[in-house]
């Protein structure tokens, strides 16, 4: 082919590929008949194509039929999947649906934060501010039985002070924490102390007034 010029070589290639018009094809066929070098180039192209096709056919023959079926199955699945995706993409989704889909991953942290906030608010609203800093208040909460009304024989009939109410006080409901938190105390006598009694009913605070020498010492003497 090297003996054929560039223009002739391109025309031979076009003739081989079937790209020439009828008139050009006739001119090239005449040239191939008269020019041995051009004819040799044309024949080389035929040999080259035959070699390539032969190689591909040999490779195809080496592939078993089952393999082809697998390939076609995969191709079919791919086609079906693409069609389904395209169909889904063509659906006219509303703005709210798209917004819901966009914020869907945010629901979990949102609910979690709202829950924590509510828990904190409940804790703050319901906690007793004296429970933490009160040495008299125990962490353990116990219930107590309601105080029964005293027997009539034990109650004095007359009350001299006008502030005293004659109405009988009903027994209170059980207190969750009976211990008193002493916030301020002043003893008018010699001394005094604050003690506590722990029992099944909870903790009861006792203020002992020492107006003589018979009282015992306490580790919590004031």
């Amino acid at each position: 082919m090297s003996r054929v010029n560039q223009g002739t070589s391109e025309k031979i290639q076009a003739l081989f590929d079937g790209e020439l018009s009828a008139e050009e094809r006739r001119e090239m066929e005449a040239l191939l008949a008269d020019d041995a070098d051009a004819n040799a180039s044309f024949e080389e192209l035929g040999l080259l194509r035959q070699a390539i096709v032969g190689t591909l056919e040999a490779e195809a023959a080496a592939v078993p039929e089952a393999r082809f079926e697998q390939i076609w199955d995969e191709v079919e699945r791919t086609i079906v999947r693409d069609a389904r995706l395209q169909e889904a993409a063509d659906v006219n989704v509303s703005i709210w649906s798209r917004m819901a889909a966009f914020f869907k991953p945010l629901w979990a942290p949102t609910v979690a934060v709202a829950g924590v906030a509510a828990a904190v608010a409940i804790f703050v609203a319901t906690s007793d501010d004296g429970a933490a800093d009160d040495a008299n208040t125990p962490a353990v909460v116990a219930s107590k039985e309601p105080m029964p009304a005293p027997q009539e024989s034990a109650v004095l009939p007359a009350a001299p002070a006008e502030e005293i109410v004659a109405a009988k006080v009903e027994a209170g409901e059980p207190a969750s924490n009976n211990e008193a938190e002493i916030q301020r105390i002043e003893f008018g006598g010699k001394s005094g102390r604050i003690d506590r009694i722990e029992g099944k009913q909870g903790i009861t605070t006792v203020i002992w007034i020492s107006d003589d020498d018979e009282t015992t010492d306490s580790e919590r003497s004031l």
Binding site: P105, V120, T126, D128, P148, G188, T205, I207
Partner: protein, 163 residues
């Protein structure tokens, strides 16, 4: 990736909203818990060093306390008298006991389920103890050790909050 960045920002922005909602929900609860009055019972108990240790039935509500080691020195107990006081905030009450002691009570306020009270125990002109305390509604405060010819007198104060 975008969601991972947006999620904490979005969640943080909702924190005030959550707190506000919780506060609005809980506000009525707090309002219902407001205490403006209290009904109090005052019991005078005489503890003596003579007796068989039996606690009478009318002192059953104090049986556990009177059996404590702190009262081990006393062998007999007797309920001298009981009185009731109704307190309102700013309106103190006073009870003069048969023993001659005077107990003044004031309701200072309430916090959550607890009552804030002011108590003054006096014998004649002499103030024996003056204290401010906070206690659960229906909780008992014992003030004791006041000298008596037959032993010691203890005062049990139990107040229940009302509105």
């Amino acid at each position: 990736m975008v969601y991972r960045l947006l999620a904490p920002i979005f969640a943080s922005s909702l924190m005030p909203v959550g707190l506000t909602v919780a506060a609005l929900v809980l506000a009525p609860v707090e309002a219902r818990a407001e205490v403006t009055s209290a009904e109090c019972q005052i019991h005078a108990v005489l503890a003596t060093k003579s007796g068989d240790g039996t606690i009478p039935a009318d002192l059953g509500f104090l049986a556990e306390q009177l059996r404590d080691d702190q009262f081990a020195a006393f062998k007999g107990f007797r309920l001298l008298e009981s009185k009731s006081l109704k307190l309102n905030i700013g309106e103190p009450g006073s009870a003069t006991m048969k023993s001659g002691h005077q107990l003044k009570l004031s309701l200072l306020g309430a916090e959550a389920s607890k009552l804030r009270l002011h108590a003054t125990l006096a014998s004649g002109e002499k103030v024996l103890v003056d204290t401010d305390y906070k206690i659960e509604s229906s909780g008992i405060l014992l003030i004791g050790g006041v000298r008596h010819p037959d032993g010691k007198i203890f005062f049990a104060i139990q107040c229940r909050g009302g509105s």
